[in-house]
């Protein structure tokens, strides 16, 4: 059933008793042309674009738990393309463009809210770095505006501008088109749209192994039996190393936990997405009124979706210091997501030594905002066995040649990106 205001009014008359399932719950078939391992945002997006852009629909998306239970539903919902390295800028900008039309494309309101993404700086050195980044964005055709202290104050009055501020605000770099998206809706919207095009989305189906013969992938073993496939795509974010290992892949990835926090709901106090320069701390107010934000990585390998108190204390101190009004606001809940951190802070979308097996992962913090472009370019790679021009530099070979895409400049220390 197509969604619209009319549909809602019609269904209201019948007490909403006739809304259909948003996606089917099919039994897995014996074989598919393509099997995608991972029913998170990226897997579902890949499935959708395989159908939409390449007309391929004999596809199964296998999800070990319930659909969208991974990072797609555990992030801070921020979308932006204000990266430093040109390859990342181009990729994330394509993603942002896709976000801008996604609700209409999927006929599912993902509530894109482009209220701007602001990065605040506190020292001349940080300002110069921000200028370098902002110009890099502009030269790549991406929007960026440099703000002075007054400009930042106008945009985010809740920040501390008093003389007692430990790290006074000097200015900020704004990407006006940045913003946030209702994260769960993205998974559901892609699932519904992919399902509508005939793709099987199979929940509670865990991949336990890969069938590989003579260097070519033949299918996967799952908790619900073996499923044959001509092509297989691995797109499992935080579990990349584990699933990759089943297929004999060794990856430049560590899994780290990143904590997210949400406060009680209050009336609008912060209109834009704000990242602070003196600490890992990005914050956005959801349409529901809660302030959602994240801090630094906990900083050690982890597959437990929970973090530790030290980070909570740091985040609280940052919150109460950068936005003094938050001192009396209450923290409601915090949780952890498993981030697949690469050695240079940039993603991997690539063929593998195994014919017909493709890998998508290493999203670090960028996973959510990358969702549409990741699906778009991964679908292209799977369909054509050739990398999409936007993702050609996200290869594994870059770590041998040294042509890494190091966003933070901190080198092969995933915990520091």
């Amino acid at each position: 059933m197509r969604y619209s205001l009319g549909a809602i009014i019609r269904n209201a008359a019948t007490g909403h008793k006739h809304w259909p399932r948003q996606w089917r719950e099919p039994e897995p078939k014996k074989a598919y042309d393509i099997v995608l391992v991972g029913g998170g945002g990226h897997g579902l997006a890949t499935a959708y674009y395989l159908a939409r852009n390449h007309g391929l629909t004999n596809i199964a998306v296998l999800e070990k738990g319930y659909l969208g239970n991974g990072n797609i539903g555990r992030n801070t919902t921020i979308v932006r393309s204000n990266y430093l390295c040109p390859q990342n800028i181009q990729f994330y900008e394509h993603s942002l463009k896709l976000w801008e039309g996604l609700s209409q494309d999927l006929n599912y309101n993902v509530m894109l809210s482009q209220r701007g993404a602001l990065v605040v700086f506190h020292t001349p050195a940080q300002r110069d770095a921000a200028v370098r980044r902002g110009n890099s964005l502009r030269l790549n055709g991406v929007d960026a505006v440099l703000l002075d202290r007054a400009g930042v104050k106008k945009l985010a009055p809740a920040i501390d501008y008093s003389p007692t501020a430990r790290f006074p605000v000097l200015g900020g770099m704004l990407q006006p088109r940045g913003g946030s998206v209702r994260h769960d809706a993205v998974a559901w919207g892609f699932a519904r749209a992919a399902d509508a095009r005939g793709i099987d989305i199979i929940q509670n189906c865990e991949v336990t192994g890969f069938r590989i013969e003579k260097g070519r992938v033949r299918g996967v073993e799952t908790s619900r039996g073996s499923i044959m496939a001509k092509k297989v795509g691995i797109v499992v974010a935080g579990r990349s190393s584990l699933v990759g290992k089943m297929a004999g892949l060794r990856l430049p990835i560590e899994s780290h936990v990143l904590q997210c926090f949400v406060t009680e709901a209050v009336k609008p106090v912060l209109d834009t997405v704000v990242s602070f320069g003196a600490a890992h701390f990005s914050i956005v107010q959801s349409d529901k009124g809660g302030l959602v934000f994240n801090g630094d990585l906990d900083g050690y390998n982890s597959y437990a979706q929970r973090g530790n108190l030290a980070v909570v204390e740091n985040v609280a101190a940052s919150a109460a210091s950068f936005m003094p009004c938050m001192s009396r606001l209450r923290l409601l809940r915090h949780w952890g997501g498993i981030n697949d951190m690469t050695m240079d802070g940039s993603p991997i979308i690539t063929k593998t030594p195994v014919k017909g097996l493709f890998f998508n992962g290493g999203w670090c913090y960028g996973g959510f905002k990358a969702t549409p472009a990741s699906g778009w370019t991964f679908a292209y790679l799977i369909a054509n066995a050739e990398p999409h021009s936007l993702a050609s530099s996200f290869s594994l070979s870059r770590f041998e040649t040294g042509l890494v895409i190091n966003e933070s400049g901190t080198g092969p220390l995933p915990g520091t990106h």
């Binding site: 809602i8 007490g15 948003q22 239970n69 609700s103 509530m111 009680e264 209050v266 003094p324 606001l329």
Partner: protein
């Protein structure tokens, strides 16, 4: 001032001798010490306290504890404004000011209550299905509308004037909850000699006993509890924290708690408002009790409907009768006591039991006056802003009433066990989720273990306390005395997740009050494929309100299970995340707010810089002198003056923030050879040399000078930014890579103050100040190192130059730093010595083509920076092997170059990019970027350093420097990065 119409003539744990007054929505009421805002409002006949989140339905006080979903108020004014505070947790003090929320213009008349009429069009997730056309309307119209409607209270945009602090506590046994189980557990563990910490979120010990009319050992429950608590407070191995909420459990038995130290005080000068505790325990006893479940029927959210246990608490603890004509609706025997206590307090009570008469175990305890209805459910409720009556089904009987007390059974509080990932299991007998934690780190007793009989609760408490003490290695001896308690009726619950659809309207039956999630919403979620507990939660927002689903979750799971026709055990549950109850950020931050957010580091000469008008800049945690403006000077004028002073005569800069590491031992030289790309083991004693370190991936990590002070004695400086990182790296290399080396080293950054004296007259100035060291060029050439004294104070002098001038760095024990600085300033007066800041230093190092932070951005190799020649390939060193990779040596690298504008008057800036052609965008447009750009007073125009694609081969080329952010385009010529004195004669004179 309105009188307390619902206050009972006697009873309760309040101080009736004293009266205090408070205001709610501007109206003044009176109360007694011991009241909560909720009990005081009820005493004054106020039920309507707030509006719901989505439909703005009128809502009243529903509970008597932290789980309160409806009665959320805003306290205080200005910087003390505190939204979303449960009235049930606010202790009334004289002058308390509270306001209702989420209504306009007033609580009684709220315009957005229109949402309630549009309810049919706002089912769960309706927004996913609409607001898509026309596209622009979403962010112009729909979203702003939604944002304004959403949210509860309002934050004041002012800083919080109150104090907060953090404290750490260590104990053997942490007991959560000072109810009967917790008190027993704490006493037993303490008697066995264990270090015990007992925490409870209420001001009074006793847990639910404070709200009951039950005797233990012949004393009223609350009095008995008080006695035990006093006994505990006397013991030196026990710490009792009241008003303290355990908000989270973390790995390694670390717990977070917040104590409300000053919230209940009318005025408080020395104490913090709240104190957050970080508790380290060996063993946890979860005696947090249980929370009562609502019953789900049409109109179950109307003011006047409340939990049966809460009604009991208002009568027994606060001496308040919430309503004179009461109906108690239950599916278990526990609520019978509510009927008894209400009746005893003089109310007309009807008891409605969804079970058949034979299921009830305790009809006997009901007084004559209580009328009973078995096998009946409430199907309709009369009254909008207050209950006026109800209808039963199937009988259709109508009852007039102004209070409905509901009990759907009890939900054990198991959050602390599930925070670290354990999953609960379904317990059929009590229809509740319980948790038995593997291992011996934690156990549960009493209500939290679904034990609802007082006698057994006390016994479990004793057992838990002894077991915990044993687990902590204490000797447990003797027999424990177990207090005598009145027998309670059996619980005998018969699940009723919702009043059957046939009897009542699903759209009006609320499961989650605050977020307005109804049974109909859950049915819709199930219909559309969101049947999984987590999906349903996310699709309907059930359990996401401030009460975190404490009231709603189990009923919701039951309803979903029924819809799916499978047992609740199979639908699974959603995970409980920290926090158990919301906590203010200020409390968790403690003292780390505002100016105390992070410590500040000062050099020993800081006071001098201050007194001489320095403007400071942040360098990590350090404050460094940026420049020293004089009367009427702006930034550039001051910097220009400082630079010219150095270039023409002499100046001095404070470089104490540099990291300094001292190395000793026979292998110190070898160690340094392996850390740096160049070699030092062969360097002569009393000589210094510039050194570069790489990361193992071949990128430049840090640079600085290495000096040899003795055969087995080296001294190195590292950049301010990397000081700690380099030390850590060196410790790793020594302890992990090369433990065979006999080298000892440690940070001495703070032991030495350091200042650079630079300029043609530097030698004359120093010569007149330093004794015992011949500074003549022959005796003390470029890169020489020597010891001397200044006014009897020891100094090390290093002849090194960052500015390109004749220069010396003077190091002295930090305690003498200020004195030595002043002495040199004195000595330099005749030659007009000038103090210069970090900006002038940047200008001069740029003129000299020295790289620094902006060039060492972690993406550049030594070769990129023109330092490739320094690599000594005769040896192994960190990063050597990766530095040779094709991608790092091949074409297309960004290499260091110098820039000068073609038009001398042109200005450009750091962060601008280099392009071949204008007006194009794309991935390859940028040829590199300006890393450093300064106005050179010497040349009278701007100069810059940049990293440029294949830059070294492009000298003489003209390119555009563009800063689209500033709409700037400047034509520049690519030149050698060393502007001043390429031959380096000046440094060597």
């Amino acid at each position: 001032m309105s009188r307390q119409s619902n206050r009972l003539p006697e009873g309760g744990l309040i101080d009736r001798a004293r009266s205090i007054s408070f205001t709610f929505d501007g109206r003044e009421f009176d109360a007694h010490p011991g009241d909560t805002l909720a009990s005081a409002l009820l005493a004054n006949g106020v039920h309507l306290t707030g509006r719901s989140f989505k439909y703005h339905r009128p809502r009243g006080i529903y509970s008597a504890g932290p789980e309160e979903p409806n009665a959320l108020v805003t306290l205080g004014k200005g910087g003390r404004t505190e939204p979303n505070t449960p009235a049930t947790m606010v202790e009334v003090y004289d002058g308390l000011d509270a306001r209702s929320q989420n209504r306009w213009p007033s609580l009684k008349f709220d315009l957005l209550a229109v949402n309630s009429l549009l309810k049919p069009f706002f089912p769960a997730g309706f927004y996913y299905k609409t607001f898509m056309w026309p596209r622009s309307f979403w962010y112009r119209l729909y979203e702003p509308m939604i944002r304004r409607a959403a949210g509860l209270g309002t934050l004041a945009n002012e800083s919080d004037p109150d104090r907060y602090e953090k404290a750490h506590a260590h104990c053997d046994v942490l007991v959560v909850g000072a109810g009967p189980a917790g008190l027993m557990a704490a006493r037993e563990a303490a008697r066995a000699g264990a270090k015990v910490l007992l925490a409870d979120d209420q001001p009074l010990p006793g847990g639910h006993l404070t709200g009951e009319n039950i005797d233990i050992d012949g004393k009223p429950g609350a009095a008995w509890a008080g006695g035990i608590a006093d006994e505990l407070k006397e013991m030196e191995n026990v710490r009792v924290l009241t008003r303290t909420c355990l908000y989270g459990r973390y790995d390694g038995m670390t717990f977070g708690a917040v104590e409300r130290v000053g919230d209940h005080l009318a005025s408080n000068s020395t104490l913090p408002r709240q104190r957050s505790w970080i508790i380290q325990a060996k063993h946890l006893i979860n005696a947090a009790g249980a929370i009562e479940r609502p019953l789900v029927f049409a109109g179950n959210d109307r003011p006047g409907v409340m939990l049966a246990g809460a009604a009991r608490a208002y009568v027994n603890r606060y001496g308040v009768l919430p309503g004179r004509n009461a109906v108690v609706f239950t599916n278990n025997d526990d609520a019978y006591r509510t009927a008894c206590d209400l009746a005893a307090a003089g109310a007309n009570v009807t008891l409605v039991d969804s079970r058949s008469a034979d299921k009830s175990r305790s009809r006997a305890i009901l007084p004559e006056s209580v009328e009973t209805q078995f096998g009946q459910c409430i199907s309709k409720v009369k009254g909008r802003s207050h209950v006026r009556g109800l209808t039963l089904a199937p009988s259709g009987i109508e009852i007039a009433c102004n209070l409905i007390c509901v009990s759907g059974g009890w939900t054990p509080s198991i959050h602390l066990l599930s925070h670290i990932g354990h999953r609960p299991e379904w317990h059929e007998a009590t229809s509740s989720f319980v948790m038995r934690e593997p291992g011996d780190e934690a156990c549960t007793a009493g209500g939290a273990a679904a034990t609802f009989d007082l006698g057994r609760t006390l016994r479990e408490g004793v057992a838990a306390g002894r077991a915990a003490a044993k687990a902590c290695g204490c000797r447990v001896s003797g027999k424990a005395g177990i207090p005598k308690a009145d027998a309670l009726p059996d619980y005998a619950i018969e699940p009723l997740w919702r009043v059957p659809a046939a009897m009542t309207k699903a759209q009006e039956s609320f499961v989650d009050f605050q977020n307005d999630v109804t049974v109909a919403d859950l049915e819709l979620a199930q219909r559309e494929g969101f049947g999984h507990a987590e999906h349903a939660k996310r699709y309907t927002t059930l359990g996401m309100a401030t009460d975190q689903g404490k009231l709603a979750n189990v009923n919701a799971l039951g309803i979903l299970a029924d819809l799916q026709g499978r047992p609740i055990a199979e639908t699974g549950t959603t995970t409980f995340r920290p926090l158990t109850s919301p906590v203010a950020f200020g409390a968790i931050a403690g003292q780390e707010r505002g100016s105390a957010y992070r410590p500040v580091r000062h050099s020993a000469m800081h006071s001098w810089h201050e007194n001489n008008g320095a403007v400071f800049t942040q360098a990590g945690l350090w404050l460094r002198a940026y420049y020293y403006p004089r009367e009427g000077e702006d930034f550039s004028a001051a910097v220009k003056r400082e630079v010219l002073a150095v270039r023409s005569s002499v100046g001095m800069v404070d470089v104490s923030t540099l990291g300094k590491i001292e190395l000793k031992g026979p292998d110190a030289g070898t160690f340094l050879d392996r850390l740096y790309i160049n070699s030092f083991s062969k360097m002569k004693v009393n000589r210094a040399r510039y050194g570069v370190m790489l990361r193992e991936d071949g990128m430049v990590f840090d640079d600085g000078t290495v000096s040899r002070l003795g055969d087995e004695h080296y001294f190195i400086t590292v950049t301010t930014a990397n000081a700690s990182g380099v030390m850590q790296h060196m410790e790793f290399c020594h302890q992990v890579h090369w433990p065979e080396l006999d080298v000892q080293f440690c940070t001495v950054s703070e032991a030495w103050s350091a200042m650079a004296v630079a300029g043609p007259n530097a030698r004359d100035v120093l010569a007149s100040a330093v004794e015992g060291l011949d500074l003549s060029n022959d005796a003390f050439p470029f890169m020489a190192v020597g010891e001397g004294t200044i006014r009897g104070v020891p100094v090390w002098v290093f002849r090194i130059s960052f500015s390109g001038e004749l220069a010396y760095e003077v190091y002295t024990p930090a305690g003498f730093g200020l004195g030595v600085w002043q002495t040199i300033m004195e000595a330099g007066k005749p030659l007009g010595i000038t103090a210069y800041g970090t900006e002038a230093m940047t200008v001069m190092r740029t003129e000299k083509g020295h790289v620094a932070g902006p060039e060492l951005d972690g993406r550049t190799t030594a070769a990129d920076l023109g330092l490739g020649r320094m690599m000594s390939l005769k040896k192994d060193f960190i990063g050597r092997w990766m530095a040779g990779r094709s991608g790092l040596e091949g074409a297309g690298r960004l290499q260091l170059v110098g820039l000068k504008p073609v038009g001398k008057s042109e200005t450009f800036r750091m962060g601008a990019h280099l392009v071949n052609d204008l007006g194009v965008t794309g991935v390859d447009v940028s040829q590199g970027h300006v890393t450093t750009c300064v106005y050179s007073p010497v040349y009278g125009h701007y100069i810059g350093l940049a990293v440029l694609k294949n830059g070294r081969g492009r000298s003489g080329e003209t390119l555009h420097v563009v800063s689209p952010l500033h709409n700037e385009v400047v034509e520049v010529e690519v030149v050698d990065p060393v502007f001043v004195d390429p031959g380096g004669e000046k440094m060597r004179v």
